[in-house]
């Protein structure tokens, strides 16, 4: 489904070149849950944004279903994200003036679907948020906010979930909920690429990639993946 090959991304910072990614290659197949680990500044988020069609690489290619993502126009990439990609963020990034229900429905702005409301209700129920539907993000606990984030990421039935430290701000109990949800998504045939510091994720992932200074230093995979 997702394949990146020899991807590099350099930034200019204070006159110096920072190699965020340096010749990274990886692939994520349907049903696979890939965990990317590494210290801060190792290029994890850059990798995720690049895979999510949000950040063109300096070199190398990113392919989704065989198509070169960055040869598409910005609007085509937006449509690709709307139809195929879900994002989960460490800071949740909920829209503060929208209710829980409207936050979950936000992706339907990009991909209108008459069944979106029904699906949103189902997701709220699945994540135990039905009673919070009319509440605003500021009125929720951090665990609830991340569950809303997860529900929003799943609304358009994406094929790929990109999660950027989704458990970084959560306690163990909520972290387990999020990780098991991501694992469940993969078990249902979706692909998950998650960057994290947490070792807790290793138990859910089918493979772990270690990034260091923009390079993959080790790569482990469960049997069968």
């Amino acid at each position: 489904m997702l394949r990146i090959r020899e991807v590099s991304k350099h930034y200019e910072k204070n006159g110096a070149t920072v190699k965020a990614l340096d010749g990274v290659s990886l692939s994520v197949k349907p049903g696979e849950f890939v965990v990317v680990r590494g210290p801060s500044g190792s290029g994890k988020t850059t990798l995720l944004l690049l895979c999510g069609a949000l950040l063109p690489p300096g070199s190398g290619e990113v392919r989704f279903d065989g198509a070169d993502v960055y040869s598409l126009s910005p609007n085509q990439r937006a449509a690709l994200r709307a139809a195929n990609v879900g994002f989960v963020f460490q800071q949740f990034n909920l829209i503060p003036y929208l209710s829980v229900l409207d936050n979950v429905l936000a992706p339907s702005l990009a991909k209108p679907d008459p069944r979106a409301a029904q699906r949103a209700a189902g997701l709220l129920e699945r994540f135990n948020l039905s009673e919070r539907a009319s509440h605003f993000p500021a009125e929720l606990s951090t665990g609830e906010r991340q569950r809303v984030g997860l529900a929003r990421a799943l609304l358009n039935r994406p094929r790929l979930l990109l999660a950027d430290e989704p458990t970084g701000n959560l306690d163990d109990e909520n972290a387990q909920v999020v990780l098991s949800s991501l694992a469940g998504f993969a078990a249902d045939g979706g692909a998950v690429l998650m960057v994290t510091h947490s070792r807790q994720a290793d138990t859910y992932g089918h493979g772990t990639i270690h990034l260091m200074r923009g390079k993959i230093v080790t790569e482990t995979a469960e049997e069968g993946h």
Partner: protein, 426 residues
């Protein structure tokens, strides 16, 4: 979920920001609409005032015309009946009559029963050299007062005859010779007592001496002769001079008739002058109103660009602030698949609502303020008179277009923002 819901939810959340924008657009629109309404009110009041003045002038003119008709009816013409041989050019040039005609003409005319003739004053006159006053050139006039018309009841004479042995002196002669009533003067070898001094007339009367007709005829060697018969307040149907001339010519074939000193002419001139004065007053009022309007227009002409520029910059700044504040939200929306065009739409829709809402509030506030400060009667009735759908629609259009234009650059910045850059900051 749709963009409209997203925009309205954000407005509800950022009430103060939107309210600030709305109030500034409303204030700017209100000020402009108030000034325009005052101009409109001024124009309507001007039309009212000028129409009233016009109507009043027309009424006064009509009344004057009526008065004129009545005066004409009462006064008729003043005629001078002269010998047919009198050269009128000579008469107009010298101011006195040189030819003469029989005195019985006046009696003939008085007995003719002409309904057009009302008062007859026979006279003789000559320019003489007043030898007793160093050869001073004066006009000596002899008059016997009014000749009664034989077919009418006697009336108070219009001009009293000068008694024998008395003289009435013209103003300039009396002034230069220091003559006063009661003084005794010699005139062509005969003594006269000054019976009166005429007031200043600015005509040849000021150098005229009036004595009784018989004495004058004798002194001038014109016994039984007259130079002229003055017929006052002559009337005829339609006041046609030609008709009177025909009537007189039928009775006195050896004469000619001219119109003199007609009060009718004076009245007509007065009426024309009054009309001209009224028109001048009307014009002055129109000019005065135009000056006030020009001042209002001048005020509006500098106020409009200042207000428009001010509110455009302010709305632009507010939108820019809103975009800065919503960087992360925009990045997340882009990440979930919202296109750059949709982000642009979100901000421009908000600007549209700001413009339309502000214009609507501003229009009615400005209408109320303009009505209250304007020259027409205030209150709902005044506002209703001054309400203009065209102005409302124009204001709505201009305000929304300006707000959209003011928000264009910040909205473009929002739509072209790199979401990856913002999300990497997490």
């Amino acid at each position: 979920m749709n963009l409209w819901r997203l925009v309205t939810r954000e407005i509800r959340y950022q009430k103060l920001n939107f309210l600030l924008g709305l109030l500034s657009v409303a204030a700017a629109t209100g000020v402009l609409v108030a000034v325009l309404t005052m101009l409109r009110s001024h124009d309507m009041r001007t039309r009212e005032i000028l129409a009233q003045k016009q109507e009043r002038t027309e009424q006064e003119m009509a009344k004057m015309k009526d008065d004129y008709r009545i005066i004409m009816k009462k006064l008729g013409f003043n005629l001078l009946i002269l010998p047919a041989a009198q050269d009128l050019k000579q008469y107009y040039a010298s101011g006195y009559v040189t030819e003469d005609m029989p005195e019985e003409y006046v009696n003939t005319l008085a007995g003719a029963g002409l309904m057009t003739i009302r008062h007859l004053l026979p006279s003789v006159e000559r320019k003489i050299s007043w030898s007793e006053q160093g050869g001073l050139q004066v006009i000596l006039a002899g008059t016997r007062g009014e000749v009664p018309l034989t077919d009418r009841a006697p009336k108070e004479p219009m001009q009293v005859a000068v008694a024998e042995g008395e003289v009435v002196v013209g103003y300039e002669l009396a002034r230069s010779l220091k003559l006063r009533a009661g003084d005794s003067v010699m005139l062509l070898g005969q003594r006269f007592t000054v019976a009166g001094i005429h007031g200043e007339r600015g005509t040849r009367d000021d150098i005229t001496l009036w004595i009784d007709l018989a004495t004058a005829q004798r002194m001038l060697g014109l016994q039984g002769r007259l130079n002229a018969i003055l017929a006052l307040k002559c009337l005829c149907a339609g006041n046609e001079l030609s008709q009177i001339r025909r009537n007189v010519a039928a009775v006195l074939p050896g004469t000619q008739v001219i119109e003199v000193d007609s009060k009718v002419i004076t009245r007509a001139e007065a009426r024309e002058r009054a009309g001209a004065v009224a028109k001048t007053a009307l014009e002055a009022e129109r000019e005065n109103r135009a000056v006030i309007r020009a001042e209002l227009e001048k005020f509006a002409s500098w106020l409009a660009p200042v207000v428009i520029l001010g509110v455009t910059l302010w709305v632009g700044l507010l939108t820019w602030g809103n975009v800065r504040q919503r960087r992360r939200e925009i990045a997340v929306l882009r990440a979930i698949g919202i296109s750059a065009g949709q982000v642009l739409k979100i901000f421009l829709s908000k600007a549209l609502m700001l413009g339309a809402g502000g214009a609507l509030i501003g229009y009615f506030a400005g209408l109320a303020a303009g009505t209250a400060s304007g020259e027409l009667s205030g209150g709902p009735a005044g506002a209703l008179t001054l309400f203009s759908l065209t102005m409302l629609l124009s204001v709505l259009l201009v305000a929304t277009v300006l707000c959209v234009l003011a928000s264009w650059i910040p909205a473009l910045m929002a739509s072209s923002q790199d979401p990856a850059e913002v999300l990497r900051e997490e």
